[in-house]
Symmetry: C2
Subunit: 142 residues, 2 copies
């Protein structure tokens, strides 16, 4: 069955590239550096529902993204989460947190309305992320 992105994810996030498994998407909220990995497998809600091979690929993508984000943005703590209470299609949040950021030390969900990127802000963010995403795309297609 062809993979179709959940409309809510399509609306709230921007695709930056694809690994062999995942759509790498930027949350359109400039409050925190916040990216999602969406495994392109139709009907999958939970990590354990992926094949074992895909689970390991997701893990590798997730670790590459998490490490890269923390190096780029110098955060205090990374938040990694697959919740999906509102959007059941499997997606894994990667959020860079700073001590004293909005919502710290609580989780980010529902803290406040998203602050969408300005066109220039989005360009800058995508540029900063460029090398990391490129690296993930190349490794992911091995």
């Amino acid at each position: 069955m062809a993979f179709e992105l959940h409309p809510r994810l399509a609306e709230d996030t921007i695709s930056l590239g694809y690994t062999g498994l995942c759509d790498i998407r930027l949350m359109d909220d400039s409050t925190w550096p916040w990216l999602l990995l969406v495994p392109m497998r139709e009907g999958v809600r939970e990590i354990y529902q992926l094949s074992e091979r895909d689970q390991v690929r997701l893990l590798r993508d997730s670790s590459a993204l998490g490490k890269g984000l923390m190096e780029l943005f110098g955060g205090h703590k990374l938040n990694v989460a697959a919740l999906g209470n509102m959007v059941p299609q499997l997606h894994v949040h990667h959020i860079v947190r700073y001590e004293g950021d909005v919502g710290w030390p609580g989780p980010v969900w529902g803290v406040r309305a998203p602050v969408p990127y300005s066109p220039a802000g989005l360009d800058r963010r995508i540029e900063v992320l460029g090398e990391l995403i490129e690296d993930m795309v190349q490794k992911g297609s091995d």
Copy 2:
């Protein structure tokens, strides 16, 4: 360096058993079926800081636990998360969610004060979890 459990985790959770890598711990909050995996590696804050081998072991433990919990408790959605804003020692939450539960569809953290298990409630919960934990402990020592 010997692994030492963070005092906050020691206080809030109860150990049910050990895989080759993880301490499997029950959150002492009867509001949701809520277990933690704590990789017993000193000084590790993020999943990507584990060795690749340990990352895959954590993934396997996490998928076994998540799948088992959803089968046992018939939840609507599993929440899996490594946050660590308050307790930086790496620990991965596994929480069974039901539509309309306390806090639904938001995340569980900070929703309300924990409701500790009664002694009898704790015995029952541990009994229900017994086979799953035993299975994880055996597979984890392979």
